[in-house]
Protein backbone atom coordinates (compact mmCIF):
# COMPACT_ATOMS: atom_id res chain seq x y z
CA UNK A 1 0.00 0.00 0.00
CA UNK A 2 2.29 2.76 -1.22
CA UNK A 3 1.87 6.37 -0.24
CA UNK A 4 0.98 8.29 -3.39
CA UNK A 5 0.86 11.92 -2.36
CA UNK A 6 0.20 14.35 0.46
CA UNK A 7 -1.52 17.73 0.24
CA UNK A 8 -1.96 20.35 2.93
CA UNK A 9 -4.74 22.92 2.42
CA UNK A 10 -5.59 25.96 4.47
CA UNK A 11 -9.20 26.55 5.44
CA UNK A 12 -9.94 28.52 2.29
CA UNK A 13 -8.64 25.76 0.02
CA UNK A 14 -5.26 27.20 -0.85
CA UNK A 15 -2.53 24.58 -1.17
CA UNK A 16 0.18 25.16 1.42
CA UNK A 17 2.20 22.06 0.69
CA UNK A 18 2.03 19.23 -1.82
CA UNK A 19 4.30 16.36 -2.61
CA UNK A 20 3.98 13.26 -4.77
CA UNK A 21 5.72 10.16 -3.44
CA UNK A 22 4.70 7.75 -6.22
CA UNK A 23 7.61 5.99 -7.88
CA UNK A 24 6.51 5.62 -11.48
CA UNK A 25 7.56 8.79 -13.22
CA UNK A 26 6.72 7.18 -16.58
CA UNK A 27 3.28 8.74 -16.93
CA UNK A 28 4.39 12.21 -15.98
CA UNK A 29 2.15 13.97 -18.45
CA UNK A 30 0.40 16.00 -15.75
CA UNK A 31 1.77 19.53 -15.80
CA UNK A 32 1.65 21.93 -12.89
CA UNK A 33 -1.65 23.48 -13.88
CA UNK A 34 -3.43 20.14 -14.19
CA UNK A 35 -2.15 19.10 -10.77
CA UNK A 36 -3.34 22.36 -9.30
CA UNK A 37 -6.80 21.78 -10.80
CA UNK A 38 -6.81 18.31 -9.32
CA UNK A 39 -5.97 19.65 -5.88
CA UNK A 40 -8.89 22.05 -6.10
CA UNK A 41 -11.06 19.03 -6.86
CA UNK A 42 -9.72 17.18 -3.81
CA UNK A 43 -10.36 20.11 -1.51
CA UNK A 44 -13.84 20.70 -2.93
CA UNK A 45 -14.70 17.05 -2.54
CA UNK A 46 -13.58 16.91 1.10
CA UNK A 47 -15.42 20.15 1.83
CA UNK A 48 -18.72 18.94 0.36
CA UNK A 49 -18.42 15.44 1.81
CA UNK A 50 -18.13 16.98 5.24
CA UNK A 51 -21.47 18.73 4.71
CA UNK A 52 -23.15 15.54 3.53
CA UNK A 53 -21.66 13.62 6.46
CA UNK A 54 -22.87 16.25 8.91
CA UNK A 55 -26.47 15.90 7.77
CA UNK A 56 -26.39 12.09 7.76
CA UNK A 57 -24.67 11.59 11.15
CA UNK A 58 -26.63 11.19 14.38
CA UNK A 59 -27.04 14.59 16.00
CA UNK A 60 -25.43 13.42 19.25
CA UNK A 61 -22.07 13.22 17.52
CA UNK A 62 -20.01 16.37 17.41
CA UNK A 63 -17.08 15.16 15.32
CA UNK A 64 -18.26 15.31 11.71
CA UNK A 65 -14.83 15.37 10.13
CA UNK A 66 -14.18 13.04 7.21
CA UNK A 67 -11.54 10.48 8.18
CA UNK A 68 -11.15 8.58 4.94
CA UNK A 69 -12.70 8.26 1.50
CA UNK A 70 -12.10 5.07 -0.42
CA UNK A 71 -12.54 4.92 -4.18
CA UNK A 72 -11.89 2.04 -6.52
CA UNK A 73 -8.15 2.53 -6.88
CA UNK A 74 -7.06 4.60 -3.90
CA UNK A 75 -7.95 5.81 -0.43
CA UNK A 76 -7.74 9.40 0.71
CA UNK A 77 -7.07 9.80 4.43
CA UNK A 78 -7.99 13.21 5.70
CA UNK A 79 -7.23 15.07 8.90
CA UNK A 80 -8.86 18.39 9.65
CA UNK A 81 -7.30 20.42 12.43
CA UNK A 82 -9.07 22.83 14.75
CA UNK A 83 -7.57 25.74 12.84
CA UNK A 84 -9.13 24.49 9.61
CA UNK A 85 -6.04 23.03 7.98
CA UNK A 86 -6.70 19.87 5.99
CA UNK A 87 -4.09 17.17 5.48
CA UNK A 88 -5.01 14.79 2.65
CA UNK A 89 -2.92 11.65 2.16
CA UNK A 90 -3.53 9.43 -0.86
CA UNK A 91 -2.69 5.75 -0.48
CA UNK A 92 -2.96 3.39 -3.44
CA UNK A 93 -3.91 -0.33 -3.32
CA UNK A 94 -5.60 -0.01 0.03
CA UNK A 95 -8.69 -2.16 -0.44
CA UNK A 96 -8.66 -3.90 2.94
CA UNK A 97 -7.68 -0.81 4.96
CA UNK A 98 -5.61 -2.83 7.42
CA UNK A 99 -3.50 0.16 8.41
CA UNK A 100 -6.31 2.70 8.74
CA UNK A 101 -5.74 3.27 12.43
CA UNK A 102 -1.98 3.57 12.13
CA UNK A 103 -2.27 5.97 9.19
CA UNK A 104 -4.62 8.19 11.13
CA UNK A 105 -2.23 8.26 14.05
CA UNK A 106 0.62 9.07 11.68
CA UNK A 107 -1.28 12.03 10.23
CA UNK A 108 -1.99 13.32 13.70
CA UNK A 109 1.74 13.05 14.36
CA UNK A 110 2.53 14.83 11.10
CA UNK A 111 0.47 17.76 12.31
CA UNK A 112 1.28 17.77 16.04
CA UNK A 113 4.97 17.07 15.90
CA UNK A 114 6.11 18.01 12.41
CA UNK A 115 3.90 20.83 11.13
CA UNK A 116 3.71 22.63 14.47
CA UNK A 117 7.41 22.17 15.20
CA UNK A 118 8.73 23.04 11.75
CA UNK A 119 6.25 25.53 10.33
CA UNK A 120 4.29 27.17 13.12
CA UNK A 121 7.29 27.58 15.41
CA UNK A 122 9.46 28.95 12.64
CA UNK A 123 10.50 32.53 13.50
CA UNK A 124 9.36 33.72 10.06
CA UNK A 125 5.91 32.10 10.38
CA UNK A 126 3.12 34.03 8.78
CA UNK A 127 -0.33 32.67 9.71
CA UNK A 128 -1.97 33.73 6.45
CA UNK A 129 0.68 32.72 3.94
CA UNK A 130 3.10 30.34 5.67
CA UNK A 131 6.18 29.68 3.58
CA UNK A 132 6.47 25.92 4.01
CA UNK A 133 9.25 25.53 1.46
CA UNK A 134 11.58 27.67 3.56
CA UNK A 135 11.26 25.37 6.60
CA UNK A 136 12.50 21.84 7.17
CA UNK A 137 8.92 20.46 7.16
CA UNK A 138 9.52 18.44 4.00
CA UNK A 139 12.74 16.85 5.29
CA UNK A 140 11.17 15.89 8.62
CA UNK A 141 8.00 14.61 6.95
CA UNK A 142 9.93 12.47 4.47
CA UNK A 143 12.02 10.94 7.24
CA UNK A 144 8.86 10.16 9.22
CA UNK A 145 6.87 8.67 6.32
CA UNK A 146 9.74 6.46 5.16
CA UNK A 147 9.94 4.95 8.65
CA UNK A 148 6.30 3.79 8.48
CA UNK A 149 5.55 0.14 7.72
CA UNK A 150 2.91 1.06 5.12
CA UNK A 151 5.12 3.51 3.19
CA UNK A 152 5.89 0.98 0.42
Amino acid sequence: MPVHSLHVFDRKGKTLFTKCYAQNKANKVDDGEQLSEKRKLVFGMLFSLKEVAASLSPSSIKDNGVHSVQTGASTCYCLETASGLRFALYITDDADKTHARSIRKAMQHAYNDIWIQSVVRSPLYNPVTPNVQATNFETNLDAFLVSQSWYR
Partner: protein, 152 residues
Protein backbone atom coordinates in the same frame (compact mmCIF):
# COMPACT_ATOMS: atom_id res chain seq x y z
CA UNK B 1 -23.39 -1.28 15.59
CA UNK B 2 -26.62 0.12 14.17
CA UNK B 3 -27.61 0.86 10.59
CA UNK B 4 -28.73 4.44 10.08
CA UNK B 5 -29.98 5.14 6.56
CA UNK B 6 -30.44 3.49 3.21
CA UNK B 7 -30.87 5.48 0.04
CA UNK B 8 -30.87 4.62 -3.63
CA UNK B 9 -29.78 7.01 -6.38
CA UNK B 10 -30.61 6.33 -10.02
CA UNK B 11 -28.33 6.66 -13.02
CA UNK B 12 -28.94 10.37 -13.50
CA UNK B 13 -28.57 11.38 -9.86
CA UNK B 14 -32.21 11.34 -8.83
CA UNK B 15 -33.10 9.91 -5.46
CA UNK B 16 -35.48 6.98 -5.93
CA UNK B 17 -35.66 5.57 -2.41
CA UNK B 18 -34.72 6.69 1.08
CA UNK B 19 -35.51 5.48 4.56
CA UNK B 20 -34.09 5.36 8.04
CA UNK B 21 -33.26 1.99 9.54
CA UNK B 22 -33.17 2.87 13.23
CA UNK B 23 -34.30 5.51 15.70
CA UNK B 24 -30.76 6.78 16.09
CA UNK B 25 -30.78 8.09 12.53
CA UNK B 26 -31.41 11.84 12.29
CA UNK B 27 -34.71 12.96 10.78
CA UNK B 28 -34.17 14.42 7.33
CA UNK B 29 -36.80 16.25 5.30
CA UNK B 30 -37.71 15.16 1.76
CA UNK B 31 -36.13 18.18 0.08
CA UNK B 32 -32.99 17.68 2.11
CA UNK B 33 -32.96 14.04 0.99
CA UNK B 34 -33.17 14.99 -2.68
CA UNK B 35 -30.29 17.37 -2.15
CA UNK B 36 -28.18 14.73 -0.40
CA UNK B 37 -28.94 12.22 -3.15
CA UNK B 38 -27.81 14.42 -6.00
CA UNK B 39 -24.86 15.83 -4.06
CA UNK B 40 -23.67 12.32 -3.37
CA UNK B 41 -24.10 11.41 -7.03
CA UNK B 42 -21.79 14.26 -8.09
CA UNK B 43 -19.28 13.64 -5.32
CA UNK B 44 -19.13 10.01 -6.37
CA UNK B 45 -17.96 11.12 -9.81
CA UNK B 46 -15.66 13.83 -8.44
CA UNK B 47 -13.96 11.38 -6.08
CA UNK B 48 -13.01 9.16 -9.00
CA UNK B 49 -11.75 12.19 -10.92
CA UNK B 50 -9.76 13.58 -7.98
CA UNK B 51 -8.03 10.30 -7.21
CA UNK B 52 -4.47 10.23 -8.57
CA UNK B 53 -4.94 6.69 -9.86
CA UNK B 54 -7.99 5.29 -11.62
CA UNK B 55 -9.38 1.83 -12.05
CA UNK B 56 -8.61 0.43 -15.49
CA UNK B 57 -11.45 0.69 -17.98
CA UNK B 58 -11.86 4.44 -18.24
CA UNK B 59 -15.44 5.67 -18.32
CA UNK B 60 -16.89 2.19 -18.22
CA UNK B 61 -15.36 1.28 -14.88
CA UNK B 62 -17.43 1.55 -11.72
CA UNK B 63 -14.99 3.97 -10.14
CA UNK B 64 -16.15 6.27 -7.37
CA UNK B 65 -16.68 6.43 -3.64
CA UNK B 66 -16.84 2.97 -2.12
CA UNK B 67 -16.55 3.80 1.54
CA UNK B 68 -16.35 6.94 3.58
CA UNK B 69 -15.50 6.97 7.28
CA UNK B 70 -16.27 10.04 9.37
CA UNK B 71 -16.29 10.73 13.08
CA UNK B 72 -19.94 9.78 13.47
CA UNK B 73 -20.70 7.17 10.86
CA UNK B 74 -19.48 4.97 8.07
CA UNK B 75 -21.04 5.23 4.61
CA UNK B 76 -20.80 2.41 2.10
CA UNK B 77 -21.81 2.76 -1.51
CA UNK B 78 -22.40 0.04 -4.08
CA UNK B 79 -22.82 0.91 -7.73
CA UNK B 80 -24.42 -1.68 -9.96
CA UNK B 81 -23.44 -2.27 -13.57
CA UNK B 82 -26.50 -0.31 -14.61
CA UNK B 83 -25.39 2.76 -12.68
CA UNK B 84 -27.78 2.61 -9.74
CA UNK B 85 -26.10 3.44 -6.43
CA UNK B 86 -27.17 1.81 -3.19
CA UNK B 87 -25.86 3.73 -0.19
CA UNK B 88 -25.97 2.46 3.38
CA UNK B 89 -24.81 4.38 6.43
CA UNK B 90 -24.15 2.90 9.84
CA UNK B 91 -22.44 3.65 13.11
CA UNK B 92 -18.64 3.46 12.97
CA UNK B 93 -16.99 0.03 13.13
CA UNK B 94 -20.00 -1.80 11.70
CA UNK B 95 -18.58 -4.71 9.70
CA UNK B 96 -19.72 -6.24 6.39
CA UNK B 97 -21.66 -3.28 5.02
CA UNK B 98 -20.62 -4.27 1.51
CA UNK B 99 -22.14 -7.71 1.92
CA UNK B 100 -25.41 -6.28 3.24
CA UNK B 101 -25.55 -3.90 0.26
CA UNK B 102 -25.18 -6.78 -2.17
CA UNK B 103 -28.05 -8.57 -0.45
CA UNK B 104 -30.14 -5.40 -0.70
CA UNK B 105 -29.38 -5.33 -4.42
CA UNK B 106 -30.65 -8.91 -4.68
CA UNK B 107 -33.83 -7.87 -2.86
CA UNK B 108 -34.19 -4.93 -5.28
CA UNK B 109 -34.02 -7.21 -8.29
CA UNK B 110 -36.43 -9.67 -6.68
CA UNK B 111 -39.01 -7.28 -5.30
CA UNK B 112 -38.79 -4.16 -7.46
CA UNK B 113 -37.52 -5.09 -10.90
CA UNK B 114 -39.85 -8.08 -11.14
CA UNK B 115 -42.83 -5.87 -10.34
CA UNK B 116 -44.64 -5.50 -13.69
CA UNK B 117 -45.84 -2.01 -12.77
CA UNK B 118 -42.40 -0.67 -11.87
CA UNK B 119 -40.81 1.75 -14.31
CA UNK B 120 -37.04 1.95 -14.41
CA UNK B 121 -35.41 5.03 -12.85
CA UNK B 122 -38.63 5.88 -11.03
CA UNK B 123 -39.13 6.08 -7.24
CA UNK B 124 -39.41 2.73 -5.50
CA UNK B 125 -42.73 2.35 -3.71
CA UNK B 126 -42.67 -1.38 -3.14
CA UNK B 127 -43.92 -2.54 0.24
CA UNK B 128 -42.42 -5.93 -0.46
CA UNK B 129 -38.97 -4.35 -0.80
CA UNK B 130 -39.36 -2.34 2.41
CA UNK B 131 -40.37 -5.41 4.40
CA UNK B 132 -37.60 -7.51 2.89
CA UNK B 133 -34.99 -4.86 3.82
CA UNK B 134 -36.41 -4.67 7.35
CA UNK B 135 -36.12 -8.42 7.71
CA UNK B 136 -32.55 -8.37 6.37
CA UNK B 137 -31.45 -5.58 8.70
CA UNK B 138 -32.97 -7.33 11.69
CA UNK B 139 -31.31 -10.59 10.76
CA UNK B 140 -27.87 -8.98 10.35
CA UNK B 141 -28.09 -6.99 13.58
CA UNK B 142 -29.19 -10.03 15.58
CA UNK B 143 -26.43 -12.15 14.08
CA UNK B 144 -23.87 -9.52 15.08
CA UNK B 145 -25.17 -9.14 18.63
CA UNK B 146 -25.40 -12.91 19.24
CA UNK B 147 -21.86 -13.63 18.13
CA UNK B 148 -19.67 -10.74 19.30
CA UNK B 149 -16.82 -10.79 16.81
CA UNK B 150 -13.35 -9.36 17.03
CA UNK B 151 -14.64 -6.06 15.68
CA UNK B 152 -15.14 -3.60 18.46
Amino acid sequence: MVFLHLFVVNRSGGLIHHRHLSNKAPKIGTNEWLRIGSTFHSLHAIAAEASPVRLPGGKNSNDGIEEMVTGGMVLRSFQTRTGIKFVLTAEPQTPDLGQVLKEIYVLYTECVLKDPFYELEMPIRSELFVHAVDALVERVQNAVSISPTKHR
